[in-house]
Amino acid sequence: MPARRVYLDNSATTPVDPRVAAAMARAVVENFGNASSVHGFGQQARAAVDRARREVAALIGAKQNEIVFTSGGTEANNLAIRGLCEATATHGRHIITSSIEHPSVAGVCASLEKRGWEVTRLPVYQNGIVKVEDVAAALRPETVLVTIMMANNEIGTIQPVAEIGALVRERRAAGHRHLWFHTDAVQAVGRMRLNVDEIGCDMLTMSAHKLYAPKGIGALYVRRGVRLHGQNVGGHQERERRAGTENVPGIVAFGEAAKLAREEFDARRAHDRALRDKFEKVVVERIPDIVMNGDRELRLAHLSNISFRFIEGEGLLINLDLEGVAVSTGSACSSGTLEPSPVIRALGVDDELARGSIRFSFGKDNTEDEIEYVVEVLVRAVERLRALSPLTLV
């Protein structure tokens, strides 16, 4: 194990906040009752779930009965997209999405495509952002769902969701009654100030483990009046939308994490942004032949995605890992087949840049001292790999 460890992969998951862990541990022991039970033990668990639901709702400006707890972001995306499409199938079978969605959205859309739905995947441009006019142009009378993420998980670019929400509402008011808007906000929750009414979305996906809570718990916001076919059936939980005994400790942890995210929002964002900006400034000064991926302004404050010319992302990732620095890369090589990140490819860059992209994502527990260490390690690793690269030969 390396002498020092620095975690810069907060977009993959975040370290659990000790305050969240403490709340969860209490709930495991004290609120063991089944929240559906009528007796006191059950009611105590129900009250804990309700408190958490209010906190999660408050984080996005929703009402508490609009929050459906799930096992995480992937399940919430499945419930939103498949649940909505199944419920509206008699009205139309067309979905509009983007070409840079998380696999849990892209995969559900692809599975519906096999079952007869049509899917339009909108391009992003060099800046990694969808154009609202492209959404408008793609709308058809049979379109039932627009699903476009709030902020991208690899490059952090923020999509024009409020404009898309306004467009969908305008079309609905004009008579396109079965048109709905879902946004996957897994990367944005806690990192951006969100309000479902300002966004104008009908459904919004969240995941707790990106918010310093443990894995295994997420939620889908479902605006009142939106009909969904439940994907987990066989119980009345979550207003018939998600059958299964509630994960009370997970829900309590999510509630606590949501409360802290709201209270500490400004401090966390300023902290992340300061570290990210410092990191980028020094990297640009010290490492030549790099490309920063995604729009420079319209992006999450805690994330930096950089392509390093002449080298491959996985080699750099493992070199950093050997020195205790955790980052991620979107490219993967398996069975001799190269799979460069589809997100970076969607920006229109060449294969070499797509293969050499690394995501650095910062969090509330990172320090300036850590950033200085990471830069030193990164400079050395890039130099070592470039000295080895035949691509640097003229």
Partner: protein, 118 residues
């Protein structure tokens, strides 16, 4: 994926990296599917590999296969080097998952190409 200690050592400290200015044979091969690339330069005197350098671009197994290969063939006769197989290289590395075996295949192919080049 978890890599062996030997694998990590070669990744962090590549052996014989670079190019030989007095090479007698050079080969540069690319895996057409994934784009991984390996370049070997050999200095062969009296049918013996007196010096070897390598450059590599691609996933970590490709970088490591290049490094381990140079250690295996350094000082060997060309006949001995020709006998080297993909399995020998994989054994020397301490094994690779099957989906990464293509890295060893590229290394052996590049070696054979260099030995033909003389």
């Amino acid at each position: 994926m978890s890599y062996s200690a030997k694998f990590k050592d070669h990744l962090a400290h590549p052996r014989n990296a670079g190019e030989l200015s007095d090479a007698t044979a050079v080969a540069d091969e690319t895996n057409p599917i994934c784009g991984d690339r390996l370049r070997l330069s050999l200095l062969v005197k009296d049918d013996r590999i007196e010096a070897v350098r390598y450059l590599a671009y691609g996933c970590p197994p490709t970088l490591v296969c290049g490094s381990v290969l140079t250690e295996l063939i350094s000082g060997k006769t060309t006949e001995e080097a020709k006998q080297l197989t993909r399995t020998d290289l994989l054994d020397a590395i301490g094994g690779l998952p099957s989906r990464k075996h293509h890295a060893a295949a590229l290394a052996i192919e590049t070696l054979n190409s260099a030995l033909r080049d003389r």
